[in-house]
Symmetry: C2
Subunit: 359 residues, 2 copies
DNA sequence: TCGAGCATTGTTAGCGTTAACAGCGGGGCC
DNA sequence: GGCCCCGCTGTTAACGCTAACAATGCTCGA
């Protein structure tokens, strides 16, 4: 035989990872028969199968994915492009994608990008393409990135994870709107004159959906619609933004995610106010810590892992020319302790004048 | 009817992803020459190289990683096994691993396991092995899993991410101990009689390191060492555990991570106490939200992304038979607003009696 | 002038696997 | 009894790429 790789053993017996041929030889059959056994082909006699299986077990044989991919032109691998990997939503979605992919027999390649720019996303997609991924789940909610991803779809099927705009999960957007709407209604019904909004970045579909829900709820109940303030999803940005909201005399703030909401709570507290005594705060996402914050955060629960799973479902569907259309996950309001009736006198300074004029 | 992927062209010309042979033909050279250009071999004439590069650009050629892996027996891919993917530490470490691997020209396969059992970890490792990863970074701090990983090291080089026990980052453990020690000293110096500990799971090296640091600081300053209470890293478990700590009359709690610390704050507040007025709380990890919690959490900052990067450094070192030994990352205390001098009268009920007896 | 020696390019043979087809007994059917 | 077909197994030729070696055309020194 030929040259063997691996460390040559002391007693001359060469150690190398076993391949199909080794199993075939040991079992006394052809490689093709071993291949059939490995792939669960029905046309193998029971006795033969058993012999082959024994040989596989004895040698500890595991098929080589690269060789398979090469010949079948199917890598059984999907790629994930993720941005802001430490954000709760991203991490949880990734988890769901990974689980679902694994369950379907696919392996997962991950590329995380630091800045979501068309070029970086494009490069990430290229790298994934080079790995012959069969499809890509992109967790990059910014619009700019989404266009890049959409363009790449011609080369390799891509599913956008938030799925708010994509063709895969079309009503997810409206469910998100509805959930935001519900959150704001909750605040209005508590008696707040109006509800301020701490929005996410303008170029994220989630931001827009949540802002839309907020706005419609306000318009519907004939409230003034204050100018929303923007954050970048982080607690730090939420804190900063809240300072302005407070100046504006807000008594109720609907933040586009929990991290920012928690920053709002901090700002209110620091300004000498109380949540929910002076200001009510609602978040979005319901990250695991939300229930244990002080005060426990009223927020909208969103099952990101499920979102990830459904993305895979859609993607795998497209790979087999089926058009899968899973029901969108429906976020729902979880009322906890960060919301209450508005205070008799609002916290902000100049605020009184302004809201009085508006109301 | 061999179906080519990509969009079928209107004029019947089948569109298929270009391969080396296509480039070679277009450039009028042999495949080998194209291969040399792609791999940056110096022995290609400048004119030839330019022609080949033009052809590559025109066709949009990208080398096929599977074919390469097959023939070179180097996949240029590393695997990551991660558990509890939504925990801050895990997510951030994964990010660091991914970044460093990518920078070194490696791609990353991720397998996330839900329960850390020897079997599930073993299966994850097997799957990774099947993908011919050249090495594995395992973010599975439980001891049981670590043994499994260590055993797999014979088949494929593995680096344990927390690196507290592993051969790769040996002093990381003691730095962790030192950081915990520093945190507890901070509390003691504030005037607390003793410091209670909310530990992580017993079979995590981090838990043990932090508990050790806590204990030594207490012993060193001649304090009673209260029985530590255990959580599972989540805020929920921290909340539950804190209830017992409070019964015990704790005035200072050192929690093994931020999530649990935040649960402690919640429990204290719910019991009618204040942080830090009645109970001081210190966390560990310094997750991004920590500075914006109410109150801002005093905690130990740990750069997980850096941990991930160094794991990759060690792993890639081993792959090239170099023994890399990067300096361990040194966590450091960040004092914020959740710690203060102890109250005149402790919050807990039976507590007074007990601590009085102890002191 | 000739061959050594260099720079550049081409040729051949796989890497480990599966697709496609070929072969080979034996049982059922007419 | 002959034929066909079925169940099972084997053979051959790729998949896209690179390692190893062979071959070419030069330049240069003796």
């Amino acid at each position: 035989m030929r040259r063997n790789r691996g460390t040559p053993d002391a007693d001359g017996e060469p150690v190398r990872t076993p391949v199909l041929a080794d199993v075939a030889e040991l079992a006394g059959v052809s490689q093709q028969t071993v291949s059939r056994v490995v792939n669960g082909s029905p046309s193998v006699a029971r006795r033969t199968r058993e012999r082959v299986e024994a040989a596989i077990a004895e040698l500890g044989y595991r098929p080589n994915a690269a060789a398979r991919a090469l010949v079948t032109r199917r890598s059984r691998r999907i790629g994930v492009v993720a941005a802001r990997a430490t954000l709760h939503g991203t991490a949880a979605t990734l988890l769901g994608v990974q689980e679902a992919a694994r369950a379907a027999g696919y392996s997962v390649s991950v590329v995380m990008v630091r800045d979501i720019l068309p070029e970086t996303v494009e490069e990430a997609l290229r790298e994934l393409h080079e790995q012959s991924v069969e499809g890509v789940v992109a967790i990059v909610p910014e619009d700019a990135a989404q266009e890049t991803v959409a363009a790449a779809d011609a080369v390799v099927p891509c599913v956008l994870a938030p799925g708010l705009d994509g063709p895969g999960l079309p009503d997810a957007y409206w469910l998100e709107v509805a959930a935001a709407h519900e959150a704001v209604r909750h605040l209005v019904e508590l008696g707040h004159r109006t509800v301020h909004h701490l929005a996410g970045p303008a170029d994220w579909a989630e931001s827009r959906a949540r802002a839309t829900g907020w706005r419609t709820a306000l318009v519907e109940t004939l409230r003034v619609v204050p100018a929303p303030v923007r954050g970048d999803w982080t607690a730090a940005s939420g804190y900063l933004a809240a300072l302005r909201l407070l100046e504006d005399g807000a008594t109720a703030v609907f933040a586009a995610n929990d991290h920012m909401a928690l920053g709002v709570v901090r700002a209110v507290t620091e300004a000498g106010g109380a949540v929910p005594g002076d200001v009510s705060v609602v978040g979005f996402d319901d990250m695991p810590d939300a229930a244990y914050l002080t005060p426990p955060l009223t927020t909208v629960h969103k099952d990101f892992a499920e979102v990830g799973r459904r993305c895979v479902e859609v993607l795998l569907g497209r790979l087999s020319d089926r058009l899968v259309h899973p029901e969108a996950v429906s976020p729902r309001l979880v009322v906890r302790a960060s919301t209450a009736v508005p205070p008799a006198v609002p916290l902000g300074g100049r605020a009184e004048r302004r809201t009085a004029a508006a109301g």
